[in-house]
């Protein structure tokens, strides 16, 4: 066991060149695989982190980055593969074990304690003790101040409540915590997502500091300018596999985009001949105080309009505003030439716009109710008579839509919670279609569902538009966007960055537009 690990470490190809050619990796993951029921999250991936270097982990949403972070921090156990630290094969059976090896993760939203002081946050779990076993507050404060000093963050008061600090200073405290446990491997999972430009600069200074201290840093970000600014190495994941790694100074942005996108051949999209008619839905100047600004687009009869963008680009928020769930500050929505101002989902459904939410479990299905009651929920006014339920009507409504979607269930009275994710999604889509809408907005309609269910959903979408319905499909999956859409709207940071006709459109263009890279 030990010898194979040693050999693997020695034959790391990336050791042949680079700024720290003499250094050996501090952490090596090799041949890691991890599956969840119905999903293969990681397949035979490798990753190496070097002391004093920042490695960027790059990949689309769902490429397996978070799963890998959870394996590195001991939260998940890999199904197969080896973890080596300083060349020794080891396991990380728990978060505590990872902590013991000096692995620490700093997340998008810091997992610190708002109501504790800065010093307490830094030393939680390893506070200095007096000889009576109680916490030695004086030493703890002193040590906290020392750690903050060495990070050039002496402006942070060790006695301040964490909640009184800004997000950037909270990151500093998180890093101070990493320093105090003598962390040797620091994982930063999209740390800049919630930061302003100035705060990002401060964070970068901090990462430089960690590099100089000889820490091995894993930096996860969607933003290419940041990656090129701070990282030395890169590793690219796609669909749970490692598709490339190397030194950033030798690799251009376009090459990395190509690796991220790759080719996907295992899924065939339905062939259809779009019959596109007059505009059905037109949105103009739609704005929200914080989430999106000046959104304008048109959806035509029989059209599938794809919405692509990075997570946080504001796509779901726009759709929820159109569906009456979130309020807007400005702008107009008109359906069939008539202005509508939905104040609730009930208003939108009545007008003929339905929104199939992304968060299936939280916003889509009502677990605890049987399938047929889930399907009839938004259509109860139609299936009941003067407020009295008519079960026969409900069953026939539920049957006609779930059977069209090829739902796999033993009976319509089965609790929807007993179905697989893909079949739950079919119930959710059936529920919305049963309201006979004019416009259906699907938010990540195939996220986290198996290939078979994906194909059923795609096939059904093609059927819907053929019948004259109009579809908006929000998706972060490039093959789906390219395979299904007639036109594609790309959003970036709350605004529409570009709208493309899906004729000869390629994935790289979309990724570049979404990330704001000038070709």
């Amino acid at each position: 066991m030990d010898t194979t690990a040693q050999r693997k470490v020695e034959t790391q190809p990336s050791l042949r060149s680079g700024p720290a050619a003499s250094a050996s990796p501090r952490l090596t993951l090799s041949g890691i695989s991890k599956s969840f029921p119905g999903v293969r999250a990681l397949h035979n991936v490798s990753l190496s982190l070097y002391p004093g270097q920042v490695t960027a982990l790059i990949g689309e949403n769902g490429a397996g980055k978070s799963t890998l972070v959870k394996i590195m921090t001991g939260i998940y156990q890999p199904d197969s593969g080896e973890i080596g630290i300083d060349g020794e094969v080891t396991t990380l059976p728990s978060a505590h074990a990872a902590f013991g090896h000096g692995i620490t993760a700093i997340h998008q939203e810091t997992v610190l304690f708002d109501d504790l002081s800065v010093a307490e946050n830094i030393f939680l779990g390893h506070a200095p003790r007096t000889r009576f076993g109680t916490i030695d507050w004086r030493t703890m404060r002193k040590n906290a101040r020392e750690v903050l000093e060495t990070m050039r963050a002496g402006h942070i008061d060790a006695d301040a409540r964490l909640k009184d600090l800004g997000i950037a200073n909270k990151h500093l405290v998180a890093v101070a915590r990493a320093m105090s446990i003598d962390a040797r491997i620091v994982i930063m999972d999209e740390p800049t997502a919630a930061l302003s430009m100035k705060e990002i600069e401060e964070l970068f200074l901090l990462i430089e500091f960690l590099k100089n201290e000889g820490k091995a840093v894993l930096f996860i970000s969607h933003k290419f300018d940041e990656i090129y600014r701070i990282a030395d190495r890169y590793t690219v994941f796609r669909d749970g596999e490692m598709v490339g790694e190397g030194l950033l100074k030798d690799t251009g942005q376009n090459a990395i985009v190509r690796m991220m996108v790759g080719r996907n051949v295992d899924h065939i999209f339905p062939q259809r001949e779009p019959k596109i008619g007059a505009p059905v839905l037109s949105v103009s100047g739609l704005s929200h105080p914080t989430e999106f600004d000046d959104i304008g687009f048109e959806l035509r009869k029989g059209e599938i309009l794809g919405f692509y963008g990075l997570v946080g680009a504001g796509r779901s928020e726009v759709m929820q505003a159109i569906a009456g769930i979130t309020r807007t500050s400005r702008g107009t929505i008109s359906l069939d030439g008539r202005m509508i101002a939905p104040r609730s989902a009930a208003d939108s459904i009545e007008a003929g716009i339905v929104y199939v939410p992304e968060e299936r479990g939280k916003q889509g299905v009502v677990i605890g109710l049987p399938i047929f009651q889930n399907v009839s929920l938004p259509s109860l006014a139609r299936t009941s008579k003067s407020g009295v339920l008519r079960l026969v009507e409900e069953f026939s409504l539920a049957r006609s839509y779930t059977e069209r979607l090829d739902l796999r269930a033993s009976s319509l009275s089965q609790d929807v919670g007993t179905l697989s994710g893909g079949n739950q999604q079919k119930v959710v889509i059936a529920k919305w279609l049963a309201t006979t809408p004019k416009v259906i907005i699907l938010d990540e309609p195939t996220k986290g569902i198996d290939i078979g269910s994906k194909a059923a959903v795609h096939g059904f979408m093609a059927e819907l538009v053929a019948q004259g319905l109009s579809v908006i499909m929000v998706s972060s999956e490039l093959p789906e966007i390219l395979g299904m859409s007639d036109r594609v709207v790309v959003m970036r940071e709350g605004r529409i960055a570009a709208t493309y006709d899906n004729k000869g459109l390629d994935a790289e263009t979309l990724v570049r537009t979404a990330a704001g890279i000038v070709a």
């Binding site: 119905g38 569906a323 769930i325 609730s344 989902a345 009930a346 939108s348 459904i349 009545e350 929104y355 939410p357 939280k362 916003q363 889509g364 299905v365 009502v366 677990i367 605890g368 109710l369 047929f372 009651q373 929920l377 938004p378 109860l380 006014a381 299936t383 009941s384 407020g387 009295v388 339920l389 069953f395 049957r399 779930t402 059977e403 090829d406 739902l407 796999r408 269930a409 033993s410 009976s411 319509l412 009275s413 089965q414 697989s420 893909g422 079949n423 529920k431 198996d450």
Partner: protein, 333 residues
Amino acid sequence: MTDTPAPRHIPDRLDKPLSSAIFSWEALLVVIASAIFIVNSFASPYFLDPWSLSDLTFNFTEKGLIALAMALLIISGEIDLSVAAIVALASTMMGMAVQAGAGTPLLALIGIVVGLGCGAFNGLLVTRLGLPSIVVTIGTMSLFRGIAFIILGDQAYKGYPESFAFFGQGYVWWVFSFELALFLGAALIYWFVLHRTSFGRRVFAIGNNPVACQFSGVRVDRIKFILFCLTGLMSGIASVLITSRLGSTRPSIAQGYELEAITMVVLGGVSILGGAGSILGVVLAAFIMGLVTFGLGLLNVPGIVMSIFIGLLLIIVIALPIVWRRLREGRFA
């Protein structure tokens, strides 16, 4: 996902209605009620007399009326702890009206309207301000009863008109009291509303997943507001009955009723987490509570011990399903 071959036709239901009825919580409650009934009939020679059985029903009809509305509220994922205080405030207002010379119909109307108003107040605080109902109604519990105490101090209102006594002391036929008839009639209405109307369906759906309901176009806040109003209304009706039965109002009237009403609801099989339950179960639980307290009364068990009993019963019926599930999971893990 189980890989069964694609069933083109999905049946409506698979389970046999009879077998699911036999193993239901309601069936268990029938067994428990029968057992207590038999034990009681051996424990006291007076128990089987029709008039003592009739007296027994007064032990649960007033709380039971509140429990019917409370059941819907708990199924929707909310709770109202202020119901007993609403009873006290409504009773106090009726007492004031008596001093001013109000007649029986006006008194009953005042009791009902005050109850409805208090319920609407709770409902507005919960739905408009988005506060958790447990906090709101703990607050209004003190508020409503506090008002009753300020008005009454250690005094009592008496002098209710003779015709007013019918609500709490009258009989519609032989040993069947007006209270019992009202309770059974209300139970029938609540059963219909909860189990046979689209309103009831939405109540269940909200209790299981309020966010998905909102996304599905269910007007969640409006339904919750109506449920708080109904609970207030039933508390107002219960106040008329109690005040009529006692013939007087003290600020401590109906003390502890909220716990007994909630115990009935939970014993009746309504999930304290919301989303599941039945009116039949609540009615059966009301009978069981009446049987138990009446039986203990026949055995000369003092009131303090009874409140200990109610407390224990509440803990047991809430804990039982949870412990049961853990035990089963432990075995299969």
